[in-house]
Structures are given as structure tokens and as C-alpha cells.
Amino acid sequence: MTTSPAPKPTLQIAALGDREIVMTRVFNAPAHLVFDALTEPDLVKRWLLGPDGWSMPVCDIDLRVGGAYRYVWQRDSDGKQMGSRGVFREIVVPQRVVFTELFDEAWYHGESVITSILSEQAGKTTLTTTMQYGSQATRDAVLKSGMETGVAISYDRLAAIVEKP
């Protein structure tokens, strides 16, 4: 292997193509532990909480292709709840998980497809999560052509754009 720059520990977010968001983050742990933390209910409940002050009273995961999951979050201050559900499409331990995601109160149209790819190097794992929004027809079209024609706009570059009045 040739030397490559060390992966950045910070979270990178980019808009890719017309319906995808890609997040990249490096974790200081081997892939099998990251995979467990992403897929075991007792572990998921401990970190997938969003803003401070929320807990996860429901976290059911049937980790097999075609298996469903159900998440419910609750704001501790007033008991307000929100939930999401979906189905696993691909599972390759400890490298790859693909699942659908539909929020109970979707603020966008249709379900999204989430692909998490884990890549371990020297005890560290890079987690790349691609969130693809929109209908299945659109998703399929994006899968066919999106990766080639899509243009990644890095978060930093976007910030530079916005700083200009």
C-alpha cells in the first residue's frame, strides 16, 4: 500500500448528486465493534439519540435480510415521541449494511435508503453512510447514472459559497 493521508477524525458531510447525503467519520475501534454498535439494540440505544435530552425507549432490530427494525425516541422533558422504521436489504458482517428508513412523520416524501460501509485500517474504522432520499424509481435512476454524473459538493466548499453575500 502506498502512503495515504490519515483519515480525518472529524465528521464530513457532503451532498452528492441530487438526492444523496454522504457522511464520513473515523472511529478508533475495529470494524466488528463498530458493526455491533450499529446493529445491536442494547448498544444502538446508547448512542443513536440525536440532540441531548432524548432517550430511545423502543429499539427493536431483526438483523436479517428482509428483517424489520423499529426505533422510537422520546424527549425526556415533555414525553414527546418520534419514531422510524425500516427493513434490512443487505447485511455483510462487519462491512456493510443497507436498510430503508421511514419516519413516522416524514418531512420529505417517501422512504430513504441508508447504506453504511465500514472499512478498517490499522485498528481504525471509517464509517461511510450514504442516505438516499426519494422514491424507488428515482433511487434506481440515481443508482444507474448518479454516481457517474453526480457532483460532490463538499461541506467546506458549500460553507465557502454561503459566506459570500
Binding site: 472511529f27 445491536e40 442494547d42 448512542w47 443513536l48 438483523l63 435480510v65 428483517g67 457532483v151 454561503v162
Partner: protein, 128 residues
């Protein structure tokens, strides 16, 4: 939001936005720099305009295009909220992973009990 994504997803349109970052430009100038025909450039400008990303003003015979920051700011603040949300999640995940690592490195580690030991796992390399 999606119209902003769609408008920026096309490489020539992103190029137009990048050119306009340096300041307003007449259509003719964009045509020269993009090396596209005028009708194609006009078509891209219409899409950008419809998405609210550019505005136009007339200066004698010329049409001058300029960037409008609102949709980009909306996109940026949306991504920023997203980033903050996930950064909180991932910081908690960092701590959890540290805990799991030290549990694993203990001399006779107790196997973590899985909540669903009977679930099906597909092994590395299996074709799905």
C-alpha cells in the same frame, strides 16, 4: 431543498454557480467560459433561476446574472443541523466503542450477551 440539490447536481450548473461566486456576469461571459452554446447556457440558467439560485438584471443589451444566496444558506443550515445531530451521536458512539474495546482486551473477557443471540448473521463474503 431538493430543487437546490437537483439544480447543483448538474456539473455545468455547478460550474455556473462557482463562476458567479466571483461576482455577477453577463450571459455572454458564461457562454465563453463554459464552452457551451448559448441555448444550453440559457437552459441551465433557467433551471438555476427557477431554483432561486440566480437572479438576472438588464444592463443595456446585456443580461447580467448574479448569485442569490438564500437557497445555499438554507442548504447550509440544513447540513449544519444534520452535522451537529450526527456529531453528538458519533461522540457518544466514540465513548461506547472505547468501553467495548477495553471489555474485549481484558484477560478473560466475558462474552457480551447479545439481546438476540438467535438472529441470523450473514458471514463476511457471502453473496446476497
Amino acid at each position: 431543498m431538493l430543487s437546490t440539490f437537483r439544480a447543483l447536481a448538474e456539473p455545468n450548473r455547478l460550474h455556473i454557480v462557482e463562476l458567479l461566486l466571483r461576482g455577477p456576469r453577463p450571459v455572454g461571459d458564461l457562454v465563453l467560459r463554459l464552452r457551451l452554446r448559448q441555448p444550453q447556457v440559457s437552459k441551465h440558467l433557467r433551471v438555476l433561476s427557477k431554483a432561486g439560485l440566480v437572479g438576472v438584471r438588464r444592463d443595456a443589451q446585456r443580461r447580467i446574472y448574479a448569485l442569490r444566496p438564500a437557497p445555499l444558506q438554507e442548504l447550509e443550515s440544513w447540513l449544519e443541523k444534520y452535522r451537529q445531530l450526527w456529531e453528538s451521536n458519533f461522540q457518544r458512539l466514540d465513548s461506547l466503542l472505547d468501553e467495548l474495546k477495553s471489555a474485549e482486551s481484558k484477560p478473560n473477557p466475558k462474552k457480551r450477551t447479545r439481546s438476540k443471540p438467535d438472529r441470523i448473521r450473514i458471514n463476511k463474503g457471502d453473496h446476497l
